[in-house]
Every structure is written in C-alpha cells, then in structure tokens.
C-alpha cells in the first residue's frame, strides 16, 4: 500500500468554492485557486473538486476553473460533475485534471466506464458511489446533488462496485450517505465490505469528524484514502496534525 491519502473535497459552483447547508442555500466560501493552494501547502495528498448540481441540472462541469487549478497546484486532483461523454472527459484531462470522477452518468450508461478506461487508462477513471443503507442492505442512489432529483437505482452497492471495476474503473469513492455531514465516523463495515469486493483502491467518504475516524477508515475499513470536506473547510482538523497523529498510530503517511 502506498502512503494513505488524505483528500479534501471541495464543492464548486460557478467557479467558486461553496458550502452546502443541508443540501440547500449554498454559501460562497471563497476563490477556488486560493483553496486549492491552501490545501496543497498544508499537505493534502490529493484534491477532489465537485461541481455540485451539474449532473442533476444535466450539464457538464466547465474546464475554465480546472485550468486555473492545474496551473497552481502540484498534487493530483480529480474533477466530478455531470461528465457524460468521452470528449468531455478528454477536455477535463487536457485542462490538467489527473482523474475524472463519474457517478450518475455511469448509472445511466455503464458502457461510459469502458470507453473512458480504454482511451485514458483505468488510473484516470474514478467511480463515485452514493451508498444508502436500508433494511441492512446497501443500495446505490443517483442524482444525489439535489434532494429533489435523488432517486433509487435498484442496484445493490456491492454488485455495482464489482461491475464498474470489471468495466475498468480504477478507483472507488464510496460515499456512505447516512454518514454524510454527521461527523460520527466513516461507515467502517461497509467500507471494508467494498474494499474486500474489489481489487482497486477505495476512498472512504462521509462522516469524518475526528482524527480517530481517519485512523479507523485505514486500519479497520482498509481504505486507501479518506475524503472529507467540513472538518477541513472549517479548520476543525489541521492536515499536518492529522498526519502526525496517523503516523503515531503506525499508519504510513506522506509528510
């Protein structure tokens, strides 16, 4: 395993970083380049930029801000939001993104994954999965960027992650929806179940509230990386201190 990755996730709207409150009333929290630089300098291992609402609004993210980010940071970053075609993905990669992350459009047309993996390689193709527990079974949800558009897919998460990796996805970002924003820790058993179901790296997402949660995602969940938003944006957990803590737990981190 390489060093475990700490991955801040930034929500983007109209080229600005925003913060959602219960999915509504997104508040502008600043310039995208300033945030990217700040995280890069603090020691983030990778960044994810998510154009909120792009998928639900039926549009693709725009490449202008990707270019601005690529110019200033020297760590890898993924972009997400409404990518539906091979050419849209090519435009994002050519603008300087290292990976594209797809979610709802892959559920609409799973062959998109095969096309992207064939042309750009699996290492460029990240699958975002929004997983929701109901009656002890985890199900995949679609269009989660907007509460009104969110819907069930009828697919079980473990079946879906096996299918997407079979089609060539090179990484899974597993977002456990019931943990989203609650800061009570990642869903460890579910993360472990997905890690055991696939052979690609799995990034835990949803629920980070304390340094111990990151430790558990790695040691118990088996995740390759841990993604979080609020605890980093609100400076509740400084990344250097988090990495120091993880190192004392015997977890390899890049410092």
């Amino acid at each position: 395993m390489p060093a475990r990755r700490i991955i801040p996730c930034l929500d983007v709207k109209d080229g600005r970083v925003v913060k959602g409150v219960q999915f509504r009333a997104h508040r502008d929290v600043g310039d995208i380049v300033e945030h990217a630089l700040r995280y890069s300098e603090e020691g983030a291992d990778e960044l994810v930029f998510y154009d909120i609402g792009a998928s639900a609004e039926g549009r693709c993210l725009d490449t202008d801000w990707i270019r601005r980010i690529a110019r200033v940071i020297d760590i890898p970053f993924a972009v997400a939001g409404g990518l539906r075609t091979r050419d849209q993905a090519a435009a994002c990669l050519d603008a300087g993104a290292d990976k594209v992350s797809i979610n709802s459009p892959a559920l609409e047309r799973p062959a998109l994954i095969d096309e992207l993996a064939r042309d750009f390689g699996s290492q460029c193709v990240v699958l975002g999965v929004d997983s929701f527990e109901a009656g002890g079974i985890y199900w995949v949800k679609q269009y989660t960027g907007s509460p009104d558009a969110t819907r069930d897919t009828g697919r079980q998460t473990l079946d879906w992650v096996r299918e997407v990796t079979g089609r060539g996805a090179g990484e899974i970002v597993l977002n456990c929806m019931r943990r989203d924003g609650v800061r009570t820790g990642y869903d460890l058993p579910h993360t472990r179940a997905v890690v055991d179901a696939v052979t690609v790296p799995v990034i835990a997402s949803g629920g980070a509230g304390a340094p111990e949660h990151f430790r558990d995602a790695f040691m118990m969940g088996g995740a390759s990386g841990a993604l979080a938003a609020t605890v980093f944006h609100d400076r509740l957990i400084p990344i250097p201190a988090l990495k120091e803590f993880l190192a004392t737990c015997g977890i390899e981190v890049r410092r």
Partner: protein, 193 residues
Amino acid sequence: MTLAVVDLGYGNLGSIAIAFERFGLQPLVTADPERIAGADKVLLPGVGAAGFAMERIATLGLAPVLRALTQPALGICLGMQLLFERSEEEDTPCLGLIPGQVRRLGPAPERPVPHMGWSALEVEDESIGLNSCDYVYFAHSYACDDGPATVARATYGRTIPAVVRHANWTGAQFHPERSGKAGAAFLKAWLDA
C-alpha cells in the same frame, strides 16, 4: 532552450506542459518529426494504454525519430514504459530502447491495482534531483522490469523502477508534475543536466 513535448493527440498534456512553464519554459507541443528531432530536449508523456499509444506513434511516423534522438529525452509514466521492448498491455511491441518488458501489477490484499498514490523512493543516484525517502505520486497498473537502467525504485509487491536512465533517455514511472516539491526538483535536475 527548446523543449518538444511529443503530442500523440489523446489529451492530458495539460499538467505536464504547465510544470515546465513554472521553470519559465514555453514547451513546444508537437507531433512534427522535424521539430521533435531539432529540439534541445524531448519529452514523451503518456496516459492511456500502450497499444493505443504505439498505434498513434506509428500513424504519426514518429518511431524512427524517437529511436534516433541523441539529445536528452524524458519519458513519463506510459511514456517510460514505451521505451522498453514489449508491454503485456494488449501485448504491444514498444520502442525497444531499453532492454526489458512491461508487466501487469498483480493485486493482493492491502495492495490494490492501480498502484495509485504516494510511495517512498529508494534512490541510487541523487544527481536525478531525488533523495531516498522522498514521496512521489504514482498512478499505474503496469510496471517495467527492474534492471541495470534503474536509478530509483519503489516497492509494490515487487520492485518498481521509478526512474531509469539509458543512453540519452530518462524515464519516470511516477508523475513529477504532480509530485510536489520532489517532482519539481526531479524535473529541474533533468533540465539542468
């Protein structure tokens, strides 16, 4: 100094060109054999699959030019793998400039594939701008054979050549343009050498 970035026409030249712009260079992104042959230094980037890349090299008529280069040249990620004799990826014959094969990484528990993320290096020759214990960013499912050309390595189930040097060619399996300060130091050392 002129730096030609070989454009195989499948995108993702964005970040590597930008990395060199940070050194005040204006890389020439081109598929023109004459401009590549005439540049002071040549960069062979690569994303995607070996088969597709070699097909593009053939279509663009670039194989003889790349094989005949004598100026310093650098292959990055897939661009490094293409320097070897053959890749298991779609069983593709490559440029054959460095002896050895490119083989698929086998996944194992706690060792997912692709090898994606920051791994520490063991560096034999620090003139490449890197030191042992530097972390650099990898994103690959295939890796070159270890051999006499290796000057820096990582370990991922087996030895992964991270930097190779052979005649005028240098290869980097990791992504220097996305490897923070260590990556920048590597690129600078290559430019200054």
